[in-house]
């Protein structure tokens, strides 16, 4: 595995650039391609039988498409985060197996038969549900992105991590199957809560961190889901099996995993995760709280530092992802000169609200140096700001909600680097 990775790394680096270019063009000039003219093993021998891998895994050649960690970020991998390899993915759906993980005290193993969900507080009937109960409620399917509020957080004060996986990989996008939270609340009855305008729903998980967050009732009754399937199959352990909360468009920390309790309250609980964490210190030392929505953001995933140009000059596809917690992405612009001039990219498909949208710019590259940027716009008319614009308002001590325009410097050798520009 390690050797495979190193070889991949080599292939991706400079040595390989010349070699790959040769493979692409020179061979054709030199003569017939033995891959075509000679009988290959795979065209002669049989392959694996069915059931060789009852639950399939990616082919070994894709072994570098994995989540990666930045060890210095955290004191302990039990309370840590890793990153989705977005540089190597296309389309919009994130496979569960490489979707980023974030735990506060490790990923716990909670069996369906041991699962209980309590609804209490200002409700008519405090209730307890089993997992089986949940499957008997009418359910819905929706695609949503889940972005950690700290995504790109390490980049506030300067270009730092040289890879889109690390700068923007605290995000995934899945199709969830779940029950609207309002259905669960309605089951317990909200009469006891009286006027709902100033009420809250406190949600907490079953793990040792007992991560808990307060959600205003308006959001709770809008599009929040109590989800138990993602991309058609059960949630993975690391994403909250068997049941997690889905809070569309809002920061990932609120998407409580191993959801065990839903409490209707008349005030925000002001838990650790909504006071000491997930608050944003401004330049004067004041901090913003309840900054739940993830504003519109985009990033070019290729070319990027982990995805250099290796195919030589000529046609090139620039691609990336865009998303907004306020709704739909309506447009993405791409600049090759560090933001002086922009051209509008093609959306792979009109994205869902609060879900990842793929964009492409089908273009040409002939070895000229580029300063690549992308700029997203959403249905509210919001335009993704530059890092300088964000710093102007928020100072340099923020960590969360960095939705700045990202710059990759592409050199004549096709390599890309994370930079900041004037």
């Amino acid at each position: 595995m390690k050797i495979e990775l190193s070889r991949r790394a080599l292939l991706r680096s400079g040595i390989a650039t010349g070699m790959t270019a040769a493979a692409g063009s020179a061979l054709a000039e030199d003569g017939p391609d033995p891959l075509i003219t000679e009988l290959q093993d795979w065209a002669s021998y049989t392959g694996d039988p069915v059931d060789a891998t009852p639950y399939g895994l990616p082919i070994r050649f894709e072994a570098d498409v994995i989540r990666r960690n930045v060890p210095w970020l955290t004191a302990d991998p039990l309370s840590s985060i890793n990153f989705t390899p977005i540089h190597a993915l296309d389309g919009t759906i994130t496979p569960q197996g490489c979707a980023f993980e974030r735990h506060h005290s490790g990923a716990i193993e909670l069996a369906k038969e041991n699962y209980r969900l309590m609804v209490n507080g200002l409700v008519d009937r405090p209730l307890v549900f089993t997992y089986e109960d949940l499957e008997r409620f009418p359910r819905e399917n929706h695609v949503y992105f889940c972005e950690c509020a700290a995504n790109t957080g390490m980049e506030w004060a300067g270009a730092q991590l040289n890879g889109v996986q690390f700068t923007h990989g605290m995000i995934h996008n899945m199709e969830y199957t779940g029950i609207p939270l309002r259905t669960i609340l309605n089951e317990a009855g909200l009469g006891a809560a009286g006027d709902l305008a100033d009420k809250w729903v406190f949600v907490e998980g079953a793990d040792a961190s007992s991560n808990g967050r307060s959600i205003p009732m308006e959001k709770a009754l809008d599009d929040v889901l109590v989800a138990f399937k993602a991309n058609g199959e059960a949630l993975r352990k690391e994403h909250g099996y068997p049941v997690r909360l889905v809070v569309p468009g809002w920061e990932g920390n609120m998407w409580i995993k191993w959801l065990r309790r839903i409490q209707v309250t008349d005030a925000a609980v002001e838990s650790r995760e909504e006071t000491s964490k997930y608050t944003d210190v401004l330049a004067d030392g004041t901090a913003r709280k309840w900054t739940w929505v993830m504003d519109a953001k985009s990033v070019i995933t290729a070319p990027s530092p982990q995805q250099p140009i290796t195919h030589g000059h000529g046609p090139l596809v620039i691609t990336g992802l865009a998303w907004s917690g306020h709704g739909q992405i309506t447009r993405v612009d791409v600049s090759k000169d560090g933001g002086m001039t922009w051209e509008t990219a093609r959306l792979g498909r009109q994205g869902d609200k609060k879900a990842l949208t793929r964009f492409y710019l089908d273009t040409e590259w002939n070895g000229e140096p580029w300063l690549l940027q992308s700029r997203a716009m959403d249905e509210t008319g919001y335009v993704q700001p530059t890092k300088d614009a964000l710093r102007e308002v928020r100072g340099e001590n923020s960590v969360y909600h960095n939705n700045c325009i990202q710059t990759w410097a592409v050199g004549p050798d096709g390599k890309a680097e994370n930079v900041e520009v004037s």
Binding site: K2, A9, R12, V70, W72, L73, A75, D76, L78, S79, S80, I81, N120, R125, P126, L127, V128, R136, G153, M154, W156, G158, A159, L161, P180, R182, L196, A208, M217, E218, L221, D222, D223, R260, E270, S271, G285, T286, A287, R288, K289, W290, T291, W292, D295, P305, D333, G338, G339, W342, T380, G381, P385, A389, E396, N397, V399, A409, N418, V419
Partner: protein
């Protein structure tokens, strides 16, 4: 609801109309000429017969049409009443949503309509004991606090026993674990130090979090009084209370936190959204030439593509950070720091260098399986945030483990062992492969009272590997 399935019933009706026109034409043709009267008469008879038949058929068809129309009407009526029912259901849903003060958009088409809202009679009523067990959150006004109390000095003892291995004896934080005290007047500085004292706005948050989620790896085991005592000590460490203070559900609201007024509710809509909206610039958007002002490769903290950097010990990363132009990464890192605060400053120089190269064993015993040792070295990464091995290994939140196989339990000078370890040491116990394996399988089961925040290794082959690996690291 579409009415298209009803359309075919109108086709027989049109056919009937054509027949009626045909009859009219036949009747008119009687006046053509008397010389052909007989012929015509004969034709007429035939026509009349035909016409009569046609009229009869038309009449039949009309009856069918009437019947079909009636049936269709009935179906339309039924469908309309279904639509009405659905609409009233939707209206009821809308009312519910509106009553709930929600801005949820109501369903407008059947295909995407929200499913029924219930109630469905699912679930069962929660027992009081269940509510008491799980409904333990505490609000800023003190609601949810149980009766109880703890003073600063008791708190210091409990803190030393249960918290100091990570947070330091004075809540100053060890290694990269959170610092809980100090940092006053730093929030507007380039490197704000966000501690319980300098940043946390509510005391309830401290009590709630300690009570539910601490100690890390052993959450939920503190008694209410221990929690009051620990929180009292943290307050004392932050100069928020005097040393004779007792925190209780009664005195809870007397404590004033420094930063309660330091927060504003999200003002991005006013402060940012209007400024960053509208048609963006497409050409000549900034002065040329655009220059690179900062490069990530100058910082050099990115894990390598082959994973090599990701596998190196944290000290190396921290050492690298020490040489960076921008020191914010540790602040960013604090986001993810386990329980509670910011990353500590870099460890002192002598603690920073730690090699994980195993020293060769000198025991002369049978050579361990190199593959097993290599596996053990990999598994040891789980331990390396608390335990160092190799040349220059130091005690951290756990003791260094060079030569641990054959070492007396609790036998390292300068490490603050738990009482359980001290007792085992006094009994003369020594670590051997067997006892290490048993300890690693179930630390608390093997040595009740250990402060090691690790639940144990469940895979026997991992235990064997790690024990083999530890056997190769000599003093």
């Amino acid at each position: 609801m579409s009415k298209s399935p009803d359309t075919p019933i109108f086709i027989p009706a049109l056919g009937g109309a054509a027949l009626v026109l045909g009859i009219a034409f036949a009747v008119a043709s009687r006046d053509y000429g008397s010389d052909r009267i007989e012929t015509l008469q004969a034709s007429f008879d035939t026509e009349r017969a035909n016409a009569t038949a046609a009229v009869a058929r038309a009449s039949e068809l009309e009856t069918s049409v009437a019947e079909l129309t009636a049936a269709a009407d009935a179906r339309i009526a039924a469908a309309e009443s279904q639509i009405a029912a659905a609409e009233s259901q939707i209206a009821a849903l809308r009312d519910q949503v509106a009553a709930a003060g929600s801005a949820a958009p109501a369903a407008t088409s059947v295909a995407s309509a929200a499913p029924a809202a219930g109630p469905f009679g699912l679930g069962r009523t929660a027992h009081d004991e269940e509510l008491a067990a799980w409904d333990v959150d505490v609000l800023p006004d003190g609601r949810g606090l149980p009766e109880g109390s703890g003073d600063v000095w008791t708190g210091e003892e409990v803190f030393a026993e249960k918290c100091a291995s990570c947070h330091g004896d004075f809540a100053e934080g060890r290694d990269a674990w959170p610092v809980l005290a100090g940092g006053f007047d730093t929030l507007a500085n380039p490197d704000p130090v966000k501690t319980v004292g300098s940043y946390w706005p509510y005391l309830s948050t401290v009590w709630d979090y300690v009570h539910r989620s601490m100690p890390f790896g052993n959450a939920g085991t503190l008694t209410d009084d221990e929690t009051y005592a620990i929180v009292a000590y943290i307050l004392y460490s932050n100069d928020l209370v005097d040393d004779d203070f007792t925190l209780s559900n009664e005195t809870f609201l007397d404590v004033e936190m420094y930063n309660t007024e330091g927060f504003i509710v999200d003002d991005r809509p006013e402060a940012e959204y209007a400024m960053w909206s509208g048609e963006p610039c497409m050409e000549n958007c900034k002065p040329a030439p655009v220059e690179i002002t900062r490069r990530s490769t100058d910082v050099g903290v990115t894990p390598a593509d082959d994973g090599s950097m990701a596998e190196s010990p944290m000290e190396e990363q921290l050492a690298l950070l020490g040489g960076t132009e921008w020191g914010k990464e540790r602040v960013a890192g604090s986001v993810f720091m386990g329980p509670g605060g910011v990353a500590q400053d870099e460890p002192p120089e002598e603690e920073r260098v730690a090699s994980t190269e195993p020293a060769s064993t000198e025991s002369g015993a049978a050579e361990p399986d190199p593959a097993l040792v290599a596996r053990g070295e990999a598994v040891f990464r789980k331990c390396s945030s608390c335990h160092q091995v190799g040349e220059g290994a130091q005690n951290r939140s756990g003791p260094q483990l060079n030569g641990v196989v054959g070492r007396p339990v609790g036998g390292l000078d300068g490490f603050k062992y738990s009482n359980a370890f001290k007792a085992a040491h006094d009994e003369g116990r020594v670590w051997d492969e067997e006892s290490l394996a048993a300890f690693l399988a179930d630390p608390r089961g093997y040595l009740s009272g250990t402060r090691m925040s690790f639940r144990g290794l469940s895979e026997p082959d991992e235990i064997a590997a790690i024990v083999a690996y530890l056997g190769t690291v000599s003093e």
